[in-house]
Symmetry: C2
Subunit: 234 residues, 2 copies
């Protein structure tokens, strides 16, 4: 009998935002896999560390930091290693920051393994919801449309996407922050936009967007939330 591939959302950073289901499944899984930087610790593994079973076999997918690099060879090799365990009847839990299907690297493993093995995805708390909670800022109410925009998109596309919805979350800011700031300013939305870095992590920081935009190297794990009604909740 084949093992099951679990995609486990471990939430955006705070270990207490793991779900009961993720904790239960981790407790009975003997093989775990996770994305990790080329050197150093995996964020997903750190978040779930308290719940990893002793002696679990670990598969680290060592990925280049630059998210524009496809790293197909890393996913190919990881999928081969995972498939070996699944074929031998062992379940494999892939730890995923936030939610597995929302900008997750889990998708690249799924593309390689789905259809060949049973798959179960356990959804997780997304960084978008965690940012809203930390900022005390509503994402959406009533019939608002929300658009989620990765900041690496071209400036004119960000402007078009932002202009069309009542609410927006702009992710993956990093060096794209000044470009996003220009678009928000042109649309008259800079005043009511709020900004947060590394939500839920020990070095989480909330600061005024007008200050953050002057940072010579804004972090990649930073987000802007903006709503046309500002902070009006209804």
């Amino acid at each position: 009998m084949k093992g099951t591939l679990f995609g486990l959302g471990v939430g955006p950073g705070d270990p207490e935002l793991l779900t009961l289901k993720a904790v239960r499944l981790l407790g009975r899984t003997t093989v775990i896999a996770y994305p990790a930087p080329l050197e150093g610790d995996s964020m997903a593994r750190s978040i779930a560390a308290a719940h990893l079973p002793a002696g679990a076999e670990e598969i680290a997918l060592r990925l280049p930091f630059d998210p524009a690099k496809r790293a197909d060879d890393v996913y190919d090799a990881g999928a081969v290693a995972i498939a070996g365990h699944l074929a031998a009847g062992r379940d494999v839990a892939v730890l995923c920051e936030g939610d597995p299907l929302f900008y997750g690297s889990f998708l690249y493993l799924l593309a390689r393994l789905a259809g060949r093995f049973p798959v179960e995805v356990v959804p997780g708390v997304s960084s978008m919801m965690a940012c809203a909670a930390a900022l005390g800022h509503p994402l959406t109410a009533r019939d608002d449309a929300l658009v989620v925009i990765p900041a690496p998109r071209p400036e004119e596309e960000i402007e078009r996407l932002l202009a069309g919805a009542e609410a927006a979350a702009i992710m993956k800011l990093g060096r794209h922050l000044p470009k996003v700031w220009r678009v928000l300013s042109r649309l008259g939305l800079a005043e009511q936009a709020v900004y947060i870095e590394r939500v839920g992590l020990p070095n989480q920081r909330i600061r005024p967007l007008a200050e953050a935009v002057l940072d010579p190297a804004p972090p990649y794990f930073a987000m802007i939330l903006v709503h046309r009604r500002g902070k009006a909740w209804n």
Copy 2:
């Protein structure tokens, strides 16, 4: 000393999708509040039922089912009852389906109580992520933009919003399903759209969208996910 108002996301339906943090806070809270229908059980309370402390005082916000009705008087009275406990130094946990700040009725309490009392929001797993997990369907990858569209929006607005992004989640379907179907068909997206009802609840149902659209009374808690690349994950 004033009590703290907690907005606790309890996730979309499966009680195992509560977070460790929500469970911990529930265990030490003596006053809970939750939205409920005019008659019958509260969905948010049912999801969290196993973790409610014995003897907790309960405040049910009895809301008309029609989400277009504002129910300001219900929120006003609920906020007064909650404020009484907070002023007396007792914490109050408001149970919220999914995430508190993503189309949540918690926003209406927040509008009435923020500024007067300390507030802490605990994010939850959203129905959007749970639907993607149940369907095995990616929400977003790489630099995809995602738009979240409430189905009660006018047909031409749904078309405009859908046309602009790579991925979409269409919520609150109910009687608006045939209208959404027309738009998806016009945009050539009906084939690759997927549909799910009452995710995570005992009566969850996945069925072909072309079949669901013939239902004389599709449920309100139903969602369509669609991605321009179909089910291609990378």
